[in-house]
């Protein structure tokens, strides 16, 4: 026994509604992920600078 949905013209409205629900959520996730991404990029840049700085320091101290 399986459900036999009655086909109605309404169905396209329902399917649109369901897709809008999904789209809105995926859009939100994309926004969040992009924001996180942006923060991560800043952090990578910061860490790279720190690392470069500490290498330079090291180089200086071993030379001096």
């Amino acid at each position: 026994e399986i459900p036999v949905p009655v086909y109605t013209g309404e169905e396209s409205v329902a399917s649109h509604f369901a897709l809008v629900t999904a789209y809105e959520d995926i859009k939100k996730r994309l926004k969040e992920t992009e924001r996180e991404n942006s923060l991560l990029k800043k952090r990578v840049r910061l860490l790279e600078e720190k690392l470069l700085g500490s290498h330079l320091e090291e180089a200086t101290s071993s030379v001096g």
Partner: protein
């Protein structure tokens, strides 16, 4: 004056069932429990069902799998009692596409749709905080 889009905007009856606690990602191979609440505008009937649909579905016949919706216990008086349906792992999608729950009443009308979810193992490095 041509007909307007009010039929679309009046999405009221599409939200008579609200899915809650939907995860973004479910672990493949495990059963999942679907939670939802029925608003006071819907009278659940014996042949209502909850289906898992691939996002972008066009007709309710395209459900991936389904379970009959349990009739809420008659003793319950709270109108927002959480209902639940268990989907066994065996019947769940095996790909990593997006799916959503939809509540379809016995007349075939969609009364609610959830946010999308996937079935995939989470990357181990996703624990890092930013």
């Amino acid at each position: 004056e041509p007909p307007t889009s009010t039929v679309f905007l009046d999405s009221c009856h599409f939200s008579q069932v609200v899915f809650t606690d939907v995860e973004k990602v479910y672990v493949p191979g495990a059963d999942i429990t679907c939670h939802y609440t029925l608003s006071e505008h819907i009278t659940p009937r014996r042949k209502d069902w909850v289906g898992i649909f691939k996002v972008g579905w066009k007709t309710t016949r395209e459900y991936y799998t389904f379970m009959w919706a349990p009739l809420p216990s008659s003793s319950s008086t709270g109108d927002a009692e959480v209902q639940q349906v268990l989907f066994k792992a065996y019947y769940l999608p095996k790909d990593d596409e997006y799916y959503q729950f939809c509540y379809v009443d016995q007349d075939g009308l969609v009364r609610g749709a959830s946010i999308p979810f996937q079935f995939c193992a989470e990357a181990e490095d996703d624990m890092l905080m930013v």
